[in-house]
């Protein structure tokens, strides 16, 4: 690692943290119904949407009504995406004449995009028509992100309001999230990306002559290639901002038309975490104590930086197997050094490791390098970041409500340790909250572990593990299920996942991982909102201090480590020990 690489990493973190306050306070205004500079343009649009859809924006929902609205909306979206894929052959905007997607792949993709996972079992450019991409996938990119944000805001209201019932109106939260936050930011990001050369067109794929003719597997000379294009920039902007991660092209942001330059790379990486990070500040503003928001943001940042360092160290360290082959892995001014397998030369070690950490700390899952080719410990980083429950920044909204489940558990144990019924932000944490928070911790762990267990003994699961004869194949399966069970969507690759077994199993994981967390999160909101607010005193455990941050990090790491160390020991850890024997 040279100075320049370090500078890039530090610059990224600093910019991310600097944006938290302005964007966070803007979002707080949006959700609290205060005036913003976008009102002049957007208020009429918002009113029009409500009138058109018959939404009464003043109607305050209790948590059950809210949850039903979330579920109805999401299931409807899921069915719509399914139908679009099955019928795309007869629908417009299909210049390549792509046929209907298979039922299991359609199910997988529909769940994947509705749940904000964006696991892609398919290759975009050879499977999806422009119509399916835009009306199905891009729309879901917006609304699945907005769903996560809405649930988060409802939970905040549960904390803020007291002795009440209502936690807000889902339709309003959904509309405002999309209209005031996701849409304007997407436009800005899309324009920035287009300026860097990301494609945005409806024209059919281009056939171009190769500069250097090559030969195919059969020895025939190949002189031209088909370049896939399409309306990519608009989808990429929201895929990053909404922590979706579903690329327009199969290789995602490693593709030069999706991510052509270091600057576009920076913009895309920043877009992954910017909303999740800023939502912490929004949280602080809305609960009336910004220190609470900073505490959570700092917790997230510390864990991310720790794992980022591990990833960079592992990748820059290089691979002993390459040394044996005589590959130069020493870093110089013209050679990034380290393990460059599966990485784009325009991004190098630092930006690839950073992206891998960032995309898995958020539930984004887009990639700019192939995680499967990382060093064992470098690959452990994205794997473990997902297994922590996608709460280190996490998905937009979902990361914070997942984190709050951990906060509740941390507050509960530490509250007992100071001799008081635990309370968080003035609300007592009791049996009901513990039940729901435990569920939120439990579900992703359960899905990832059981899913992997089935896949590694079921013949259908074993059939497409290409990497046999060692721990790496196990890591790939574990990665796939950890990704689906935490709504991340990134893939380790090396695993044939576009088949009925994995499409179905991963689809089930994604579905339950999303909605079995949303419902308990809303239930907590519904329970907290009815409680009295306990004024803080010196007997109250402060939840913004370095001590509490350290404790919270401890709880997160212990739960994650205790749940996954045995599995990791059989995957990346043993692989590392074998490589560096």
């Amino acid at each position: 690692m040279n100075l320049y690489s370090w500078f890039q990493l530090i610059f990224y973190i600093v910019v991310l943290l600097l944006l938290a306050k302005p964007l966070g306070s803007f979002m707080a205004k949006v959700y609290q119904g205060e005036r913003t500079f976008l009102d002049r343009v957007l208020v009429p649009v918002e009113r029009f949407i409500y009138r058109l859809s018959g939404v009464k924006p003043d109607e305050d929902m209790n948590w059950k009504t809210y949850a039903v609205a979330v579920m109805l909306f999401n299931v409807f979206g899921l069915l719509l995406v399914y139908a679009l894929q099955r019928l795309q052959a007869v629908l417009p905007l299909n210049p390549q004449g792509l046929g209907a997607v298979t039922p299991d792949s359609s199910w997988n993709t529909a769940v994947s995009f509705a749940t904000n996972t964006n696991w892609q079992g398919y290759g975009g450019e050879v499977t999806m028509s422009y119509f399916s991409q835009m009306l199905g996938l891009t729309v879901q990119n917006f609304v699945s992100a907005a769903t996560g944000m809405a649930v988060m805001i409802a939970l905040i209201r549960g904390i803020v309001r007291h002795t009440a019932k209502g936690i807000g109106n889902f339709w309003v939260d959904l509309t405002r999230s999309t209209l005031y936050i996701l849409l304007p930011l997407s436009i800005v990001v899309a324009l920035a990306l287009v300026s860097q050369g990301v494609v945005q067109t409806f024209s059919p794929y281009k056939t171009v002559a190769l500069l250097q003719p090559t030969t195919d597997a059969n020895g025939n000379v190949v002189t031209e290639q088909v370049l896939a294009v399409g309306p990519a920039a608009s989808q990429i902007a929201i895929k990053q901002l909404g922590t979706n991660g579903g690329g327009f092209f199969n290789v995602n942001s490693a593709h030069p038309f999706e991510n052509p330059t270091p600057f576009s790379n920076f913009i895309e990486m920043l877009s992954i975490l910017v909303i999740s990070g800023a939502l912490c500040y929004t949280f602080g503003v809305m609960v009336g104590d910004t220190r609470q928001g900073w505490a959570i943001l700092i917790t997230m940042t510390i864990i991310m930086v720790a794992f980022l360092s591990l990833a960079v160290w592992a990748e820059q360290g290089g691979n002993p197997a390459f040394t044996a082959m005589g590959v130069d892995q020493v870093q110089t001014n013209i050679n990034p050094g380290g393990n460059m397998e599966g990485k784009e030369t325009r991004f190098g070690i630092a930006n690839s490791a950073l992206w891998a950490t960032v995309t898995t700390s958020a539930s984004n899952g887009s990639v700019n390098s192939m995680h499967d080719s990382f060093m064992p410990l470098g690959g452990l980083v994205p794997l473990f970041m997902m297994q922590l429950g996608e709460i280190i920044f996490g998905g937009v909204g979902s990361g914070l409500y997942g984190m709050l489940a951990f906060v509740i558990v941390a507050v509960f144990i530490s509250g007992l340790m100071v001799g008081r019924t635990p309370e968080y932000l003035g609300k007592k944490i009791e049996a009901y909250e513990m039940k729901m928070a435990s569920l939120m911790l439990l579900i992703p762990i359960l899905l990832a572990k059981v899913g992997t267990a089935i896949a590694v003994i079921a013949p259908a699961g074993l059939a497409t593990i290409w990497n046999t004869g060692g721990p790496h194949g196990f890591s790939e399966v574990l990665y796939a299920f950890s990704s689906a069970a935490n709504n991340n969507g990134s893939a380790f690759a090396g695993l044939g996942a576009n088949n009925p077994f994995y499409n179905t199993a991963l689809g089930i994981c994604m579905f339950f991982a999303r909605y079995l967390l949303i419902v308990p999160a809303l239930a907590i909101a519904g329970s907290l909102v009815q409680k009295k607010k306990v004024p803080a005193g010196s007997g109250t455990l402060p939840t913004h201090t370095p001590l509490f941050i350290a404790w919270l990090i401890g709880v997160i790491m212990i739960v994650g480590a205790l749940s996954f160390i045995p599995a990791l020991a059989l995957g990346p850890i043993v692989e590392h020990l074998m490589v560096f024997k």
Binding site: R420, A431, K449, A453, F474, G539
Partner: protein, 700 residues
Amino acid sequence: MNIQTKKQSPYRREIYQRAVVESFIKLNPRLMVKNPVMFVVEVGSVLTTVLWIQALAGKGEAPAWFIGTVALWLWFTVLFANFSEAVAEGRGKAQAESLRKARQDTPAKKLHNAATDVQSALSKVEVVSSTALRKDDLYLVEAGDILPADGEIVTGIASVDESAVTGESAPVVREAGGDRSAVTGGTRLLSDWLIIRVSADPGQGFLDRMISMVEGAKRQKTPNEIALNILLAGFTIIFLVVCATLLPYSLYSVGAAGKGTAITITVLVALLVCLIPTTIGGLLSAIGIAGMDRMIQRNVIAMSGRAVEAAGDVDVLLLDKTGTITLGNRQAVEFIPVNGVDVKDLAEAAQLASLADETPEGRSIVVLAKEKFGLRGRAMGASDEAPEGMHFVPFTAQTRMSGVNFDDTTIRKGAPDTMIEMILLNGNKVPADLRPAVDSIARMGGTPLVVAKNNQALGVIHLKDIVKGGIKERFAQLRKMGIKTVMITGDNPLTAAAIAAEAGVDDFLAQATPENKLALIREYQTGGRLVAMTGDGTNDAPALAQADVAVAMNTGTQPAREAANMVDLDSNPTKLLEIVEIGKQLLMTRGALTTFSIANDVAKYFAIIPAVFASTYPVLTTLNFMHLATPESAILSAVIFNALIIIALIPLALRGVPYRAVGAAQLLRDNLLIYGDGGIIAPFIGIKLIDMLLVVLHLV
């Protein structure tokens, strides 16, 4: 519960022996299932025992000695947990037994209708068994009788020996009306007679409730305990999944590596038991019972575990001024003469006026005069036959003054307003310096009493509330703990403010009435605070019923004791502070042991994971940095450590984590250091030591 039992060591041989038997009885799965963590251990014990039998038959998945040893230690784990609970219960049971002795069937002299004196009562008496008495029945007791049932005195005054209930051997006076009219069944009348109205049916009396509480038989889980149980169940499920999925993972890895053997069921069960929070799971119920027990040792009977737990959450304490903050009574501290009167004359007049005054205030005037001016009262004590033609005028609510008449002299002392009115009425002038003297005393929080001789003002006596020593420091501690103290007094706001400032309370309620006391509690509760208070009078009952933690004095009335959720047998209002600490200790012990239990798992992973996968991936032995001798010894050491730590922590569970009055942040830091970091480090050392021992003993 006499004083002897109370002071005795909790670790009596008898309790131990019974606890050992109890630990086996508690293996009944129907009882175990209430504790999900330990139930899982029991199922694991059964499973490994079956595997052991299978191994003995020659078809084992591992050597029989190994499976057998694991099974044995898993059974120990369950038994140790049961033992901790049994020991905790045993202490309560011993106390219940001594209480039960007091509650034997006693003959009762039942009355069929009311009587006002003992003669007429005796003529109507019918002797029945105490179990035949029902609520609202009347009965008569005479000196030497055991009271057959709880009740309220209708007629009479008598001294009662309540040592059977309170452990206090000094007799107490009980009389009809007022705040000392409640009596408890099982206590003994020492003198006189009483006619009592029964207040509880048989089996529902105070003693019965106490017995069932200390026995812990009907112990309900408290809210925090339920929440903690949910969390522990959550962890248990996670570890169940972790261990269950390890079998397929291991099978796959064996296939992929092409060598080694898959993990055995025995090892999986051992790993599971090591990982699930058995330390806290096993000790949880002992902690709860011990919390109740600590209350009882301080002579406080909590009517529910919920109340004990709530005590730890209290953030407002309502304290009666008199008896809690100040010594029971006001005392004379100064004589202030007016109109040029000699201070000695004032003192003498004041002393004369107070000679027959039996109130502590009156006594203190006599004493002050004696101490300051060497004046000796000419007659002491209450007596109707006043010496040397003295005629004492007692205090009445109408005259609001008291005094003495002799020869042609009248001396009066009383509240300033009444006295001034009397002086003016008799055509005398009020000295110019009287008002200022009265006002300055009131401003200082004192009570002025004006003394007049022959309707001429002599001066003012300064009566002062004496704040208890050390109470100010106590309140400062409470403030640090985040608890607000509110003084309740019938005094006027000016007096109240002065005393509040002197005692260092945070707030006060002056001119308190039952209504505004109740309103104050409601107001705090609406603001989300938990309120604790003590009370003894019937007029305290509504407020006691409203408060979250309500401690009634044992000397209090029946309604007060009914409304409260705790009764202090010592009738010491300062006890509230200790009650709060016990409540906090209870929660802290649970939190600390939970942290310890979970933190332990880190070391257990380092012991077990390399051991179980070493045959498949030999390179994993790198992680065995404790250098445990063999895979078997590593697993056994972890299982044995896991069982022994329960036994080792029983004393802590029963005694509770020590509480210090510091802020929440510091408390968390200290406890995290001890139980968090300690919980990570301790098992590394413990497991290594056990492993070395196993090797030395050639057991592996």
